[in-house]
């Protein structure tokens, strides 16, 4: 009691000041964590999509399903394998021919790519993107 009378309510204000400051610090930190976590999840999901695309096009290449160089045929072969909740697009660049199905996601980096040698000995590069609908 004697302390209160001597120093007034400064202790409460001081405590309140620190509490507000800490609240702000915690809010800032939590927001940062949320943003970092979200960006990290994006990287993991991108890696997963790259892997799905690689497996898909490896399977198509080994089984000769890219040899036709026809975008409709290749698209049909992709849709036979790719789960329906994914979108895709690809671009097949050969020495004398370019086939493209779909439009590429704006501003995105290349999903992945592989070399393709067809049974007619055309040398091509197929670039592809896979993302969830």
């Amino acid at each position: 009691m004697s302390l209160n009378s001597r120093y007034g309510n400064k202790g409460y204000i001081f405590t309140l000041d620190i509490s507000v400051a800490m609240f702000i610090v915690i809010i800032v930190l939590l927001s940062s964590f949320l943003l970092i976590t979200r960006s990290n999840e994006d990287s993991y999901s991108f890696l997963q999509h790259v892997k799905i695309g690689d497996d898909l096009f490896t399977s198509l290449d080994i089984n000769g399903k890219l040899d036709s160089l026809n975008k409709a045929t290749i698209g049909s072969n992709i849709e036979n394998i790719l789960p329906s909740n994914f979108n895709y697009t690809f671009k097949l660049e050969c020495e004398n021919k370019i086939s493209q199905k779909g439009t590429f996601p704006q501003g995105s980096i290349i999903g992945s790519e592989r070399l393709v040698v067809t049974d007619n000995l055309d040398f091509c590069i197929v670039r592809y993107w896979i993302w969830p609908k």
Binding site: I18, N40, E113, R114
Partner: protein, 267 residues
């Protein structure tokens, strides 16, 4: 006393905030590290795909144009014409493929695989099937030890054979069997020779097969089809695969500190 309490109070909160910040820095670093690792994994996945697809491309060209058929069980069989008439086509396609990938990526096929003996290694048994110069009329097979049962060589010719066509000398102690099939189902064979001269029914030399030391040599004097079997490979507790010479495929993504110098799996 109250001043001392206030100092401890402030100090307590200061330490609490420091602990918060320490955790924040720790978690932030962990996330950053995790993101870097993920980026590296994505880059590695891309390099792996390029590596694997380059090897697949080589296999496609090899299977379509080399004229060498390979079958793989616990016996490895190579079938090839001698001399190999596919040489020019194979080398041209491989050169074009090498130029194509080199134009688009820092990946290169060794000139040796294109120009020289086209050596094929059976791993892990370390048996080398090769040519003196690919396209010529000599095949050789070199082993480090007998980690297989024996060689079986079958020659197909369009000439007519008779019962004395397989002229055998020496003894390979059961490590070589030679047989030949000619026109009109004529044939001859020899079990466990060290050296066989194959003649037609007019005694014109068609080919020689020789097993000296650790090298099997098949030398043709006219056009033949040779099937060379390395019979019953020992089980070395590893998958048996056939590779090109070491250093055939060179990848240099130096920006990502990723450099690889490797052989190509053919089968």
């Amino acid at each position: 006393m109250a001043k001392v309490k206030a100092v401890f109070f402030s100090l307590g909160f200061f330490i609490l905030v420091l602990i918060f910040f320490s955790f924040a820095v720790l978690i932030s670093d962990t996330f950053k590290l995790s993101r870097d690792r993920t980026s590296e994994l994505i880059a590695l996945e891309k390099f792996h795909t390029l590596d694997e697809s380059t090897q697949q491309g080589f296999r496609d060209i090899f299977n379509i144009t080399s004229g060498i058929k390979i079958s793989k069980t616990n016996t490895i069989t190579f079938t090839e014409e001698l001399p190999n008439s596919n040489e020019t086509n194979f080398k041209n396609n491989l050169t074009n493929f090498s130029n194509f990938i080199n134009l688009n990526y820092p990946i290169k096929l060794s000139d040796d695989i294109i120009n020289n003996e086209l050596a094929l290694w059976i791993r892990p048994h370390n048996i080398k099937y090769y040519h003196e110069s690919f396209g010529d009329d000599i095949i050789k097979v070199q082993h480090e030890s007998y980690n297989f049962n024996k060689y079986i060589v079958n020659i197909i010719t369009t000439r007519t054979l008779d019962s004395t066509s397989c002229s055998a000398t020496g003894n390979s102690n059961g490590k070589l069997d030679v047989s030949a099939t000619g026109a009109s189902s004529t044939s001859c064979s020899s079990n466990s020779p060290q050296h066989v001269d194959l003649f037609d029914d007019s005694d014109v030399l068609i080919a020689t097969v020789d097993l000296t030391s650790n090298i099997l040599t098949i030398d043709s004097e006219s056009s033949i089809t040779v099937t060379t079997s390395i019979n019953s490979l020992d089980d070395l507790n590893k998958a048996v695969d056939i590779y090109t010479e070491e250093g055939t495929l060179f990848m240099n993504f130096s920006d990502f500190n990723f450099i690889k110098n490797t052989s190509i799996r053919v089968v």
